[in-house]
């Protein structure tokens, strides 16, 4: 394979902006410690039982800053089973599953969710529970001598999940958890 001098067509240019933005998420900076050993792959059920998912490749894309391959509709990130085997196996404490969740936080910033995920998030944000209450639930509970479930104090929950007012203007300091607020 020959190339003209200066032809860098096949070279990956690391997108540091993407990595800095990821690093602003809680534990989003951990991928930087990945040395691509692949310990996360062997025990990954999504790798074993699926056809595309490979946590080492996802960490590599993060290292290169290839956000445009990960932050898309129907992203491969949603194939993660959240089993935490990779967290358990990683010799570098990269916590690949946490990096993947931080990437999902970036997807959320773009407003991209699979339908069922968005539905559950909305449920928690409006009712404080993943599973809706209704009169049938109280009747079921009464069968087992259990009292009706009290409503969640949603005023408090709403105040808590409101982003900090200056969140958007904070300086992008990688790995510094103070950077966001």
């Amino acid at each position: 394979m020959s190339k003209a001098p200066g032809d860098q067509g096949d070279l990956v240019r690391v997108n540091f902006d993407f990595r800095r933005e990821l690093a602003r998420k809680v534990e989003g900076n951990l991928a930087g410690f990945c040395y691509q050993c692949g310990a996360c792959v062997g025990d990954c059920p999504a790798t074993t039982y699926g056809s595309d998912f490979n946590p080492r490749e996802i960490m590599l894309k993060v290292l290169y800053g290839l956000g445009e391959e990960l932050l898309v509709e129907d992203s491969i990130l949603w194939q993660c089973t959240n089993c935490y085997n990779c967290h358990e196996r990683c010799p570098q404490d990269v916590k690949p599953v946490e990096v993947i969740i931080s990437l999902k936080n970036m997807l959320a910033d773009l407003g991209i969710y699979p339908g069922p995920v968005e539905k559950l998030i909305n449920m928690v944000e409006t009712t404080g529970r993943t599973t809706p209450l209704n009169p049938a639930v109280d009747r079921q509970r009464a069968r087992f001598d259990l009292p009706p479930l009290p409503p969640v104090p949603m005023e408090e929950i709403r105040k808590l999940i409101e982003p900090a007012s200056d969140a958007q203007s904070s300086p992008p300091e990688a790995g510094n958890p103070k950077a966001e607020s």
Partner: protein, 297 residues
């Protein structure tokens, strides 16, 4: 009586109240007093809500923990997902900078997270506060000969440094708890697998569940011993779905451990609330008429 704040989460009190009933039946018999947490919300869930914004997730979780701090009690959960959220929050908020950030949010509602309440999973509360012998002594209906395939699931054990429950590569807590009922735990080749619930595709959970259930069939387990309500759903409705999808006849009834314990402690089969299960644990009925030499009530 040892007192613990009870964090019930969403799934068990809303969808599976029979599991909550079993918990409230069994724990006092083991010397553990349940103190209800007023004003608790979703933990929030470690899959979906956490995917949106980890900081909001931590803030809502920390609020739940402050409710237990107000009571001066450690908190226990009955769901592995809730345990994951609350344990991880407890762990992450040992970082001062992150704790300050979360407390900035909590200040909006006049609360402060201090990190004074430890998080426990119900299985470890029974193991560490009551002990296996107390479980054995509470049994009036030993489940002799019942082969239980235990499904640990993921979040009870992992990440092990945060959960601090058991060795994730060779856990024993559920085997001991099942043995204390007089039953026989059977470990199959795929015992460590995930239930697949969090995965947003069909292919992976279906293939995985098929493989897992095949090995459960191979060891001829009578029942699946569950410790997480999310996993339970995957083995109940999910087992039916996978059977249809692959033309298999999987039919091992799943049951939450504390319902099994309640039954062994003498709760009538009719009170177990298994009518809505796709696979009824009819195999338990043979113990209903068994003599109960340890009967004390």
């Amino acid at each position: 009586m040892k007192r613990f704040a009870f964090f019930p989460g969403c799934l068990i009190p809303v969808r599976y109240p029979a599991m909550e009933y079993a918990i409230r039946y069994t724990l006092p018999r083991l010397g553990i007093e349940i103190v209800d947490l007023e004003g608790a919300s979703c933990c929030p869930d470690p899959i979906y809500f956490k995917s949106k914004d980890k900081l909001s997730w931590l803030a809502v979780a920390a609020r739940n923990l402050t409710l237990a701090e107000d009571l001066g009690l450690d908190v226990f959960t009955n769901c592995s997902g809730c345990t994951a959220t609350l344990s991880e929050t407890y762990h992450l908020l040992q970082d001062e900078a992150l704790r300050a950030k979360v407390n900035e949010r909590l200040k909006r509602i006049g609360r402060e997270y201090r990190g004074t309440s430890r998080v426990r999973h119900i299985a470890t509360v029974v193991r560490d506060e009551a002990g296996y012998d107390a479980v054995r002594d509470s049994v009036v209906r030993p489940l002799e000969g019942l082969k239980v395939a235990i499904h640990y699931g993921c979040h009870l054990l992992k990440p092990s440094r945060i959960m601090q429950v058991d060795d994730p590569n060779n856990p024993t807590v559920m085997e001991h708890l099942v043995t204390a009922l007089g039953a026989t735990p059977v470990r199959h080749r795929n015992w460590y697998l995930c239930c697949g619930k969090a995965c947003q595709t069909d292919e992976i959970p279906s293939n995985m569940m098929r493989d897992l259930l095949s090995t459960v069939s191979d060891v001829q387990a009578d029942i699946l011993g569950m410790i997480c309500p999310t996993c339970f759903g995957q083995f109940d409705f999910g087992q039916m779905k996978v059977s249809q999808q692959f033309g298999e006849d999987f039919h091992t009834p799943p049951i939450y451990y504390f319902q099994l314990l309640a039954f062994a402690q003498g709760m009538p089969y009719q009170k177990l609330g298994v009518e809505r299960h796709r696979f009824k644990p009819e195999c338990l009925r043979r113990f209903e008429t068994a003599a109960s030499p340890a009967q004390t009530e």
